[in-house]
């Protein structure tokens, strides 16, 4: 059936947005996870999207998650000598995650997800109505 490319496109977008929501959830959950070593500390994750051709119709572009990239930003260094994980000089390293920026990203991702759900439902209704044509 020729309506299937829309389902592939909307499905790929919903999958990509849910990967984005998962990475935001990881970032927010680990915003306060400190470590004594800058190499071991949690780094913010972000998915990288790219457009990919759809099988049913090569002129269309769906979304693909290329990779979930870890941030290169230097971790924050805090002086907390009483912390159990503090290093020899008394510093702990915290991930450089801004909760406000993550929440904005979360809102944007859920709006995109809802828009794609609307596209999916509209395409489904039209496909069913086309099949029932003349009945």
């Amino acid at each position: 059936m020729s309506n299937l490319p829309i389902f592939d496109v909307a499905g790929s977008a919903m999958n990509a947005q849910s990967v984005r929501l998962s990475t935001i959830a990881s970032n927010l959950a680990n915003a306060n996870s400190v470590a004594g070593n800058p190499d071991e500390v949690f780094r913010a994750r972000q998915p990288v999207f790219s457009a990919t051709a759809i099988e049913g119709n090569p002129a269309l572009a769906g979304v693909r998650v290329d990779e979930v990239r870890q941030s290169e930003a230097a971790p924050l260094r805090r002086y907390e000598p009483g912390h159990p994980l503090a290093d020899a000089q008394g510093y702990v390293y915290a991930p450089d995650i801004d909760p406000v920026a993550q929440m904005v990203d979360l809102i944007s991702a859920s709006r995109s997800y809802q828009a794609n759900v609307e596209v999916f439902n509209a395409a489904k209704e039209l496909a069913v109505a086309t099949l029932n044509m003349g009945r």
Partner: protein, 119 residues
């Protein structure tokens, strides 16, 4: 059968192509560097109805010929030109246009069924 449906059959197929393109826009609202595409329906319909000597699907060829990149309404950091609200509104309108085309095709089908069954 395509002569029976006439312009409405072609119009329905092209409306569907446009719907798929707009769905791809909404799907790629967050892809860096993606340019929003649209289909010029009047142009595509004219191209599809013109008898053409080329082999291959006339609908797909007409849709490809009438495709254009929507000019960006506001600049963005990652090069994406999809405006969420505009694309959703255009998609809703395209769904309505598809339903209108479908109702024309349906009335032709009903007319044929009445002619066949006599009721």
């Amino acid at each position: 059968m395509s002569d029976f449906l006439g312009i409405h059959g072609t119009a329905l197929a092209l409306r569907e192509q446009r719907l798929q393109l707009l769905a791809a826009n909404i799907a790629n609202a967050d892809t860096p560097g993606y340019q929003a595409q649209d289909l010029d329906f009047t142009h595509a319909l004219g191209a599809a109805l013109r008898p053409s000597a080329e082999a291959g699907d006339p609908i797909a060829a007409a849709a490809e010929a009438a495709r254009y990149t929507r000019p960006s309404s506001q600049p963005s950091l990652d090069g994406n030109t999809v405006a969420g609200a505009l694309e959703n509104a255009v998609f809703a309108q395209a769904v309505l246009e598809y339903r209108a085309s479908m109702s024309f095709v349906e009335s032709k089908v009903r007319g044929m069924l009445t002619a066949i069954t006599g009721q």
